[in-house]
């Protein structure tokens, strides 16, 4: 029997168990969705885009980012963990195969792609092809 406490010590009310069950169910469902559709954070301008993807526990060798036309696809294969032989366990996450695709608002320059991976976060920087960038038109007097 596991002896760990998973919740903080709080004053007990009759609704504690029910509310905790609801909270845990919501969190676990969201976490499972996040494993196959990892969350992203995107910064963009008219000529540049930076995309961050949360992928903790993944090796960069198992991640693939592909740009085809204006479609960016980030995918990764399932990773088998080396979970020990247990007498009891509680799992809140795994590393299944995942894939997300993004439609970009403009074409990317051939030398305008860069991807780095640090501490479980993939960062992709994309630059717009120069011919498409908005150009300011000087207005003569």
């Amino acid at each position: 029997m596991m002896t760990h406490d998973w919740t903080r010590t709080l004053a007990w009310t009759p609704w504690d168990g029910f509310e905790r069950l609801q909270r845990d169910a919501r969190r676990l469902l969201a976490a499972r969705a996040g494993e196959t559709q990892p969350p992203v954070r995107v910064h963009a301008s008219a000529s540049k885009l930076e995309l961050f993807v949360e992928l903790p526990g993944r090796d960069p060798a198992d991640i693939d980012a592909t740009l085809s036309g204006r479609t960016l696809v980030v995918r990764g294969k399932a990773v088998e963990g080396d979970a020990p032989t247990t007498v009891a366990e509680r799992r809140e996450f795994g590393l299944p195969a995942f894939e997300r695709s993004f439609e970009l608002p403009w074409n990317v320059a051939s030398d305008g792609m860069q991807a780095t991976f640090a501490h479980g976060i993939l960062r992709i920087e994309l630059a717009r092809v120069a011919e498409e960038r908005p150009r300011r038109i000087a207005i003569g007097s």
Partner: protein, 128 residues
Amino acid sequence: MNTTQATNHETTTERALPLRRPRTNLYETSDGYRVECALPGVGEQDVDVRLEGNLLSLSAQSRVAEPEGTSGLALVRAEFEPARFETSFRLGEDVDPASVRASLKHGLLRIDVRRRASVEQKIPIQQG
């Protein structure tokens, strides 16, 4: 995130960060415990693990390079944000504090704690 590469970026360390409970896997084995926590954006210098008695506590902070305001980039989608991570677990009473081992790789923290070896003592039965 490597801040030395992100010279035109500011890190989030100085700003107040929202608190987030990390997703965790806990395994109890025949000779101890293993805890795995997902800590995206957290480097070795930004995580603190403590074992006090049988209470295992973890606090950490993610560093995600954010574009500067002058870069012209605007945040257009935010499905996660830089955060402080905190959680704690009460393990069995028989944990061995000297056995704690922790490692962090690609934003995944792994902590292994062994149980103290139980001392078996044979009780002699005297003849009445």
